[in-house]
């Protein structure tokens, strides 16, 4: 099973992710914001990062995704981005599901269904490393 780092400022979402991923046999570490998450990624060296896009009322997660991609040690770690941004931001911030505008590998829409989450996690973990 894999090591997964979950970054979200909503502790209830963190709890949901932790329980769901642990139940599937994964080892889970968490961080409450992008900065702490990035730091933890460098030491924990996870197989996958689950990253919330909206933290502290900003799209902080976007910056964190670019930080991860810009660091030699962790740049190839798959990122699964959590979002409910599509409905909220309309034209102000377009997320494309093919991830051409963001350096992430897949998206999960909030509210997260545990089944969808686990499916996407398995798919990303099975993908050969770039």
């Amino acid at each position: 099973m894999a090591n997964i780092l979950c970054i979200d400022d909503d502790m209830d979402v963190i709890e949901f992710l932790t329980l769901t991923l642990k139940a599937a046999g994964h080892t889970v570490e968490t961080a409450p914001d992008g900065k702490a998450g990035f730091a933890k990624a460098l030491t924990f060296l996870p197989d996958l990062i689950v990253l919330d896009v909206m933290m502290a009322n900003t799209t902080e997660g976007v910056g964190t995704a670019f930080d991860i991609r810009g660091n030699e040690k962790i740049r190839h770690t798959p990122i699964l981005m959590l979002t409910s941004i599509n409905q909220e931001f309309g034209n102000a911030f377009k997320l494309q599901s093919d991830s051409s505008s963001l350096p992430v590998d897949d998206f999960v829409e909030k509210p997260i269904a545990s089944k969808t989450l686990l499916e996407k996690v398995s798919r990303l973990l099975a993908k050969p490393k770039a």
Partner: protein, 394 residues
């Protein structure tokens, strides 16, 4: 928008060479101060002998002000006004009419002209009319910009609000998903924590909706404000009583020190909002067994409400954004505390509405101290008609 010296483009369109030369020379050295927006205007004048070449020039160069002769050899001034210029509401047009007939002036105004000048006109008449047009242009441009800003601020506010309303729903949805899939086994008691968390998130959402309604009522100016003399100590005691149960549960002691005879002329409900928010925060974000000290005092021509707690405190970075909408300090201590992120924003808006202020001092691990200062004597007239600055929310 405007720096110190702003150049506006003025076009004069007239088939009479004398008018074109006269207008150019009279306006060439003119400057105008607009104190409302703090800028000085000077004009750059271009002139056109016929309508066709003027209309042709608009593709590359749009003037802010046009002096337009109504009777031109080819395409007439009225036609230009009705056609090309009707699509450019930002251009201020002054019609030059050959005969000072009321009819042509009315027609030009109906077609969107801002003003008119009747031939023959004196240099002073020209200057006065152009000055009026400049003033109109500057204020209209500023109004457009403010409207744009207001729309942006409103959009941001709604976006964040949508996020804040969805977060608890998403959290509760997540817990229901876990319960539905028996993620912790078949024992119902295992899910007590999730059910409790769900209730807390729903309570937080309800508080957000209520605070939002308060905020909207205050900002819209719709709420009828009834300023009356209020004894500060009574307001403080009422807020303390409201928090008694919550404080007792956490073993928190609340002390009140009040300078005698302090009163304020203000709306009761709004003062209650200030006191309730400050005192309930001091209890909510305190540590078990802590204390809350409420002190009422007079500071020159202001009254000061000081609420000090022995809670977890905040960093300088956290206090800097504390009074904005939807800001909540998120950490392991605040996790289980339902809040809307609007309470202190509300306190700040109310304080400034009354011509007062709010400030905070905080030390991580030690506690926080909030100080609201409000003018001692308020005339009812000063408050009755006051509305918050529109740019706050749109």
């Amino acid at each position: 928008m405007y720096s110190e010296l702003e150049t506006l483009k003025l076009a004069v369109v007239d088939d009479e060479l004398g008018i074109r030369l006269g207008v150019s020379s009279i306006l060439a050295d003119m400057t105008m101060d607009i104190p409302d927006v703090g800028c000085r205007i000077r004009l750059q004048v271009s002139s056109w002998a016929d309508g066709e070449s003027f209309v042709g020039s608009l593709d590359s160069n749009v003037p802010q002000i046009v002096l337009l002769d109504s009777k031109l050899p080819g395409i007439g001034g009225m036609e230009i006004l009705e056609g090309t210029l009707s699509k450019r509401p930002d251009v201020v047009t002054i019609m030059i009419t050959a005969y000072a007939t009321l009819e042509s002036a009315v027609r030009a105004t109906k077609l969107g002209a801002y003003d008119f000048l009747a031939k023959p006109f004196t240099p002073e008449e020209l200057r006065v009319t152009v000055r009026k047009a400049i003033h109109h242009h500057v204020l209209a441009a500023q109004a457009r910009r403010l409207m744009e800003e207001k729309r942006t601020v409103r959009f941001q506010f709604i976006s964040v609000l949508a996020h804040e309303l969805k977060s608890p729903i998403n959290a509760v949805d997540g817990y229901l998903d876990l319960i539905r899939n028996r993620m912790l086994g078949d024992e119902l008691a295992s899910y007590d924590g999730m059910i409790e968390r769900s209730s807390l998130r729903i309570a937080g959402m309800r508080k957000l909706i209520n605070d939002l309604l308060d905020l909207t009522r205050i900002e819209s100016g719709q709420r009828i404000r009834n300023p009356e003399p209020l004894v500060l100590e009574d307001l403080a005691r009422a807020a303390l009583e409201g928090q008694e149960n919550a404080a007792r549960e956490q073993g928190i002691r609340i002390d009140l020190t009040a300078e005698p005879g302090l009163s304020i002329h203000a709306d009761r409900m709004e003062m209650e909002m200030i006191f309730n928010n400050l005192v309930s925060n001091a209890v909510k974000y305190n540590r078990p067994g802590g204390t809350v000290q409420v002190t009422l005092s007079r500071r020159e021509d202001q009254v000061e409400v000081q609420v000090t707690d022995t809670g977890w405190g905040m960093s300088a970075e956290e206090t800097a954004r504390l009074f904005s909408d939807f800001v909540r300090i998120k950490n392991e201590h605040t996790r289980d505390i339902p809040g809307s992120g609007l309470g202190l924003s509300l306190v700040k808006k109310l304080s400034s509405l009354y011509g007062g202020s709010v400030e905070v001092e905080s030390e991580p691990g030690v506690g926080s101290c909030f100080r609201v200062r409000l003018p001692f004597q308020l005339s009812s007239a000063g408050i009755g008609g006051a509305v918050l600055k529109e740019t706050d929310h749109g």
